[in-house]
Amino acid sequence: MTTTIQEQDGKMVAILKGCLDTAAAPETEKAMSPLNDVEGKDIIIDCTEMEYISSAGLRIFLAILQNAEEKGRQVYIKGINDNVRTIFTITGFINIFKFM
């Protein structure tokens, strides 16, 4: 599981690669924490190369969303595969995130 954060066109982009399971969650949460300190920029979570997400992973997404919404920013999720999309659908997360 690798997490890369970079700025693109005035947006913060977090690129996640691999399997975001419960074991990888604490590390990923730490790696994505800089996103919570960013002011005034929207966030894109690039999941093109993410194979799987567990409920602990969803919690990280949720925390970022919550934080961003408090600051009036948007969070977009990009490029999820069918497997991950199913998880987002089942859990209802598809209702609270914006996708691009």
């Binding site: 799987y52 602990a56 919690r59 209802g92």
Partner: protein, 651 residues
């Protein structure tokens, strides 16, 4: 304590270095002593040869004064042989010579033939108490048998400068007169025209020279050795000798029995006047000095043992001192090094004690604040750190044991929250239920619950995000909230919405739970349900199918979310199979997931085998998962609940 290897190592190292420099120093000292001995002996030799040369030269000077006056007298009277004889006679009387002669060039006097040598001498010198003309004999000794022209004395005498010194011959036997040994001092005779016409000579007694020489020799020996006799060592080797030799290396003067032939090897060097020489092949060193106006050479010969006598003693004393010094240093060094390294041995013993687990092993104390003491302090530090570390470890271990014990208790408490008694068809005529919950750790975040109220079955299944203790705490909250809320609400959407509000308001950690809440009306089989982000249950009746579910979000973080209500009809014999993602996402060793397809397959298989009753179904499903997972560690909590509606009168 066994002998320290380190101390031995250091000792030998130090001794090795010391020995190396010792050898260098000893070598330098020996070379120095050798040189000093040679220089010292050379100076002694030079001093003696200079002294003897001076003595002989001054003696010769006295002879020269008389002889040159006589020669002048001859030069004034050499008109005829008689005149020459008369002049000789006058001079021998005045100067008291033993004998004198005048030899002339070939055919100098007419009628005298080729050779003419006028010779005047005392006929019987042994009886003479004075010189008078009565005992003088005149002789003309030049003849073919005494062909003096080729005699060295004649040639040398003739070759001299009239104004300068003459020439002293080597001693010889004068067979022509008597058998005594003489030396002659010769000077050239020059006529009025300045031509050299002959040689004038004075006989000098060899014994007289010998006396002069012996005196000097004895004086020298007394001066250097307090002994004027033969200087011999215990082996009979003469160790100091003074000799006068001729140009052939034969002895002229000299009292002792030294074999003079050892000098002959030096002949080619003409007994040069340079410094002391080593006589190769003999144990002797020699100083030469040639006596001017002669072919004599004085030689001082010194035995090796004399040359190096003091040097040997000096060298021996130095070597002895250094040897004793070395031994003393060796013992002191060894003792010091042993004393210095001994504490290391003690420390080593202490270390062994510590290694055995005896952390309080006392450390030796040292007087000096050197490296060893520093090592000891470091060691002490380490010991204390070890003690503290071990104490910490014990404490941590104890804490861990305590936590494990707490977890076991927590696990029991959590199990206690779950329904333990599952109704079967023997107990009830409307439903039979079975469930199983296997946490990945001691405690988990999965939950299920069911109870009956007002002819209704209230049930739920949920999965808290994450696992372990945090999840288990959250699970306890969810479970008690479900019970509290469902006690007065009968519609699942109301139950879930109320639960969500309650929990989201106090949820700082953003944990959430996916929850399926169902309320089954037992008399009619009508099922009301609300799914908050949970996996859709399977319905296993005439076939296998998923219960359609709205995509509501999980419970716990959006207090304003309005959950939707759904409903369906459950027919008699149909089993509702609820599960958490621990089932679909159970992983084998290669991280492959069990997947929904397999769940469907097992359910279909169960239906085909008439095994859809709750207990049988869960047993089959558990078996299938175990087979799939194999030896892999359980990655997530796994919960299954099956509810079969069996009310007959509905049909």
């Amino acid at each position: 304590m066994k002998k320290s290897k380190l101390s031995r190592h250091i000792t030998w190292h130090v001794i090795g270095i010391m020995s190396f420099f010792n050898v260098l120093i000893i070598g330098a000292i020996l070379v120095f002593v050798f040189r000093v001995s040679l220089v010292n002996s050379d100076m002694r030799g030079q001093y003696v040869v200079d002294g003897i040369e001076g003595k002989i030269e001054s003696t010769l000077w006295a002879v020269h004064v008389g002889a040159s006056n006589s020669r002048n007298e001859i030069e004034r009277n050499m008109e005829s042989p008689e005149q020459v004889f008369d002049a000789l006679e006058r001079e021998i009387t005045v100067n008291q010579f033993m004998g004198c002669f005048a030899a002339f060039e070939p055919d100098y006097f007419e009628g005298q033939g080729r050779w003419f040598e006028a010779y005047l001498y005392h006929a019987d010198p042994s009886t003479s108490s004075g010189i008078d003309s009565a005992h003088l004999e005149r002789q003309q000794i030049g003849s073919p048998s005494h062909d003096y022209f080729n005699g060295p004395w004649y040639k040398k005498g003739l070759s001299r400068d009239r104004q300068g010194m003459g020439y002293l011959t080597v001693p010889y036997f004068d067979n022509s007169v008597d058998s005594a040994m003489y030396c002659s001092y010769v000077l050239p005779i020059v006529d009025r025209q300045g031509r050299k016409v002959g040689v004038y000579g004075v006989d000098l007694d060899y014994l007289w020279f010998n006396e002069v020489f012996s005196e000097v020799e004895k004086m020298v020996k007394r001066e250097f050795f307090d002994n004027d006799e033969n200087l011999q060592d215990r082996n009979g080797n003469i160790y100091f000798s003074v000799q006068m030799i001729d140009d052939k290396g034969n002895r002229i003067l000299g009292s002792d029995s030294l074999d003079i032939n050892i000098l002959k090897a030096e002949q080619e060097d003409a007994f040069g006047n340079l410094g002391m020489k080593d006589l190769k092949g003999t144990p002797y060193y020699v100083n030469f000095k040639s006596i001017p106006y002669t072919d004599w050479t004085v030689a001082v010969i010194q035995h090796r043992n004399l040359v190096f006598a003091w040097g040997k003693i000096l060298a021996l004393v130095i070597l002895l001192c250094m040897g004793i010094g070395c031994i003393v240093i060796f013992f002191f060094t060894r003792r010091s090094i042993r004393r210095a390294t001994k504490p290391l041995g003690f420390l080593s013993e202490s270390a062994k004690e510590v290694a055995k687990g005896n952390f309080d092993a006392p450390l030796p104390t040292f007087e000096h604040n050197d490296e060893v003491a520093q090592l000891r302090d470091s060691f002490d530090n380490m010991q204390q750190s070890l003690v503290k570390y071990i104490e910490d470890l014990k404490e941590t271990t104890a804490q861990k044991a305590s936590i494990e014990s707490d977890l076991r208790i927590a696990s029991e408490i959590q199990k206690g929250m779950l329904p333990e008694k599952f109704p079967t068809k023997e107990d009830r005529d409307d439903v039979q239920i079975f469930a199983s919950l296997t946490p990945a750790k001691e405690v988990g975040g999965d939950l299920f619950d069911f109870y009956f109220r007002d002819e209704k079955l209230f049930f739920c299944i949920g999965d808290v995000s994450g696992k372990g203790v945090p999840a288990s705490l959250f699970m306890a909250v969810i479970r008690s909230t479900f019970r509290t809320v469902s006690a007065h609400e009968s519609m699942p959407d109301r139950i879930v919405t109320t639960m969500n509000k309650t929990i989201a308001d106090m949820n700082k950690t953003l944990m959430f739970v996916t929850l399926f809440v169902g309320v089954l009306d037992l008399p009619t089989g009508r099922l009301h349900y609300c799914n908050a982000g949970h996996d859709a249950p399977l319905l296993i009746g005439t076939g296998v199918g998923e219960l359609p579910c709205d995509n509501n979000i999980p419970v716990g973080f959006r207090p304003t979310w309005e959950y939707t209500l759904q409903e369906t009809q459950i027919f008699t014999g149909t089993t509702i199979f609820l599960f958490t993602d621990g089932l679909t996402e159970a992983m084998d060793v290669d991280k492959a997931q069990f997947q929904m397809e397999r769940v469907n397959d097992v359910a279909t298989q169960a239906l085909a085998q008439q095994q859809q009753e709750p207990r049988q179904l869960i047993s089959m499903m558990t078996e299938a998962v175990h087979q799939f997972v194999g030896d892999a560690e359980q990655s997530d909590d796994l919960t299954m609940m099956a509810i079969q509606y069996i009310k007959e009168n509905n049909q």
